[in-house]
Assembly symmetry: C2
């Protein structure tokens, strides 16, 4: 054995489990009087946030909640939601944030599958939660969150959240976690098909991804972070922890609407925010009267899908700088970033937006990313043309799916996490998604990226939203079918849309059918392509313009 | 067993050892053409730095160097030194940077004790290295670094560094480390007394402390880092790795002198640099003609000892912002930072400098810091008065001392790393060093902090440097004895210095003896108080002004 491995073991002084809890402990010690959380007229300092999290942890512990127990929460972006991100792990338990847009059946499934022993639930969602509980055999302890800014909803639980906090000790900061591989969070994929899967995170990954966010996004002590991204979504892409690590300020927000978002940016001098492309779309297309002008630049990170470059351009014009991230629930949110390259500042806005719409390169805290053959997992050339599956490796990849060893094994086949996203890698190493494997359209043997067709549609000045799916076609196998929502007060014909696309993309890629109307969305705001595929299949034989 | 620990094990996809090597791999992939290293007229891109490090690693491997082997390096802040920080760990080996100011006996001791199999040595130090090798039984393979900017020195080795690199493969990036607890670096304490001790770092700590540096110091992609801090000193406080993690630019520097430092700041628009207080002192007192004016602000981090507040003030006036760090070799360099608090900007410069001269609060990547009773390790009150020992805990504390289990056990007694520094903790949680345990002066039963007396001396406009030690005193037990270097062309009497001190500090703390002349320093530029104590003891009975 090497001399370097003798009498040089881990001990209490030189090793500690990595955990995001340490961020709150430090912020409360160093900046006790600083505003940690803003929620309407309310303010919580870091001393408050720590004390309230300790109270929550010790109250849970006194009620028998400990390591390996699940505490679910159904809440929008409120102080209680943030406190749960610290108090629950401090009790050694696992936080299970529920998507507030789910229906009773899905909530019941998750509560049963995740084995929640406690459910903290914001009064706004009492109705759907009550309906869910009717379907659950072993109901958890129900704790109402009576948020003063909630507009409606009954109290349906055994006690109220503030009463639970009162049971706890504000100074009782536990020694959790005992191990950095211990589970911290359970997040169900919104799953466009099949039962949701429960993604499990550990303390180590949460800690590291928070650092990745801070470094990538330039989150410092003076940052003011507006919560336009749901905290239930990958724990707010781990910004729940990153903002605290920076000792910055969280600005809560129950609901994302353009007018309050612009007003809060101006009032609190917000510096950073995140949101799905749909949020950027909403802000870019907000009525002029809602767009309060601000005189500083706001960093906005987006991800989940490629934001259409027209939207990136519009956001830049409104004073935002867009950072494009890429990730999935399975990798703590962000796993890649479209890092800025010298020279991009000299590009025309449209060309720059094209660069920025790519998914980019690995996060500093992720170990490896590649585009590979889905069968062999062999990496493909960086030629901007070879399409393969994005695969990831590193400490910010989930532990696996709860109680689902076969799905876990499939996701990790060959020692890589399989994202299911199809992409090319450009010669500069930047990855660009071409499609979800299941969203590709194969027409006459040619592969068509639905994203490329959508990108063309978004360039049309009257188009607010667009989604393209495969429609069964007797002659071609499949053909592209576009579902389009026009901007308020606009009218367009299918012929006009089709003609516009013919100018922009190869003819075989142009939609043969255009359906106008609102688009169906998942609870996280993703367009439900499987619904559209069913609709498209029902249109068999029809082409041209249709009304949804 | 909890459901959260079943079928959710570590695997190749979801876990990877933390290592700073990943920073270079990423920088080379994302910014291959960016300037990574500037050295005089030479430029290396990140592609170059990675390829050269891979060459070094594979050349070492081909010569049989692998896991647990020691590779020593004797070099100033040059590209080869930086490459060794990647190439040696990539080979699985342990880097042992030697302090270039050591004498042959100390170098020989370290080469023997650390078991170096290879020594990379800059030609400037050939003479001292040759003398050291005469004392070594099992001489390592000697590789000359023929740096074009070296002014002198013979080539004394078996081959030259570039020839070694030529043996290696620029594409052979190994899979090292196998384990994040694997040793990465071996650093001998400069030890004012006794044999040097070999501090061992691991990959995990190096990775984490680099993140701590990036976050604390705001190191981003656009940073330009000037190497005024020796890389042999705690691996440049782990900035060797942090700057690369940021994909920023390293500016090498063989020797710290005011004129080139100011010129490089202006030429390369340096944004960040570090240095011992003595470097700040040198820059603040540089002749006006050396002080090139620059129109941006330069972040400078200092540590090791408290910089006199007069020096902080002077640096601010010259366009620097001073961040005060605290740390030791045993904790990867920085372990605490005097974090800026809201409101400090409104303080008078002198009051602000007083705040900034404190050692501050724990680094984000350190787990805990406290001021405790050295006997019981019980934490002392945060009252600004109770003096105790600074103790640390966390992942950025060394593995231990090489081949020295008793010193390791003593350092970690009670589950804390004992720093040997005496401090108080203020009510705001900020730690302020009062002295090294062995530097305290006990006079008439009263404890006198030598730092407090020095702080008063530094305020005297004619004083360049000052150090205060205990002088045996028949009546008082000990009395404070000041050793003072005056600024160029200045004259002062002991009476004048003493009178000045009487206006600033309690009378019993005022030096009873003042000795004028240059101060003896260790190889890292620390004032050698043990030499001064010996001198003071030799002055028995004498008081007033003396000439060294």
């Amino acid at each position: 054995m090497s001399l370097f491995e003798q009498n040089l073991e881990r001990n209490q002084a030189n090793s500690a489990p990595l955990t995001p809890i340490t961020f709150l402990r430090r912020a409360a010690a160093v900046y006790p009087d600083k505003t940690a959380v803003i929620h309407g007229p309310r303010r919580f300092t870091y001393r408050d946030l720590h004390a309230r999290s300790c109270r929550l942890a010790s109250a849970l512990a006194r009620r028998g909640i400990g390591r390996g127990d699940t505490v679910a929460i159904m809440a929008p972006n409120t102080p209680a939601m943030l406190e749960a991100h610290y108090g629950v792990p401090m009790a050694g338990a696992v936080l299970n944030p529920l998507n507030i847009r789910l229906d009773p059946a899905a909530i019941a499934f998750i509560l049963e599958h995740g084995g929640a022993k406690v459910l903290l639930t914001d009064r706004e969602f009492s109705e759907v939660v009550r309906a869910a509980l009717n379907r659950v055999e072993n109901a958890p302890l129900i704790v109402d969150i009576d948020d003063p800014l909630a507009e409606s909803g009954a109290l349906i639980g055994e006690l109220e959240y503030e009463a639970l906090l009162a049971e706890g000790d504000p100074l009782a900061d536990s020694g959790e976690p005992g191990d950095e591989w211990q589970s911290i969070s359970l997040l169900y994929t919104s799953g466009t098909t099949g039962s949701p899967k429960g993604v499990v995170y550990h303390h180590r990954g949460a800690y590291l991804n928070a650092f990745g966010n801070m470094i990538t996004f330039g989150l410092g002590r003076d940052a003011v972070y507006l919560w336009t991204l749901p905290m239930f979504h990958c724990n707010g892409w781990t910004f729940t922890w990153a903002v605290t690590a920076a000792c910055a300020t969280h600005v809560c927000l129950r609901k994302v609407e353009p007018a309050p978002v612009f007003a809060l940016i101006e009032e609190h001098r917000v510096t950073h925010m995140c949101g799905a492309p749909i949020v950027l779309n909403m802000l870019a297309n907000a009525p002029q009267e809602a767009k309060v002008r601000f005189d500083h630049r706001v960093e906005i990170a987006t991800g989940g899908a490629a934001p259409p470059s027209a939207v990136i351009e519009a956001m830049e014009n409104d004073g935002f700088r867009v950072t494009h991230l890429y990730g999935l629930t399975e990798c703590y949110g962000p796993a890649a970033v479209c890092d800025w390259q010298p020279g991009w500042e000299d590009l025309e806005p449209k060309a720059r937006a094209g660069k920025l719409a790519r998914q980019g390169v690995r996060y500093l805290t992720l170990e490896e990313i590649m585009v590979a053959d889905p069968e062999s997992a062999a990496e493909l050339p960086w030629d901007g043309a070879s399409m393969g599956e994005i695969m990831l490796r590193g400490n910010t990849v989930m532990k696996g799916y709860l109680k689902n060893p076969s799905a876990t094994a499939a996701a990790f086949a060959g020692g890589w996490f399989r994202t299911g996203d199809l992409a090319v890698r450009h010669p500069d190493g930047y990855i660009e998604i071409k499609d979800r494997s299941k969203d590709v359209i194969i027409s006459g043997g040619e592969t068509i990226s639905s994203l490329e067709v959508e990108e063309a549609l978004y360039r049309h000045p009257k188009v607010l939203e667009a989604a393209v799916v495969a429609k069964p076609d007797e002659k071609w196998g499949e053909s592209p079918c576009a579902f389009v929502t026009l901007k308020d007060g606009q009218n367009a014909s299918a012929a006009e849309i089709i003609a516009f696309c013919r100018d922009m993309i190869a003819h075989y890629k142009v939609p043969r059918t255009v359906v106008f109307g609102p688009l169906p969305k998942t609870s996280t705001g993703k367009i439900q392509k499987f619904v559209l595929r069913e609709r498209a299949a029902g249109l068999q034989g029809m082409t041209g313009a249709l009304e949804a």
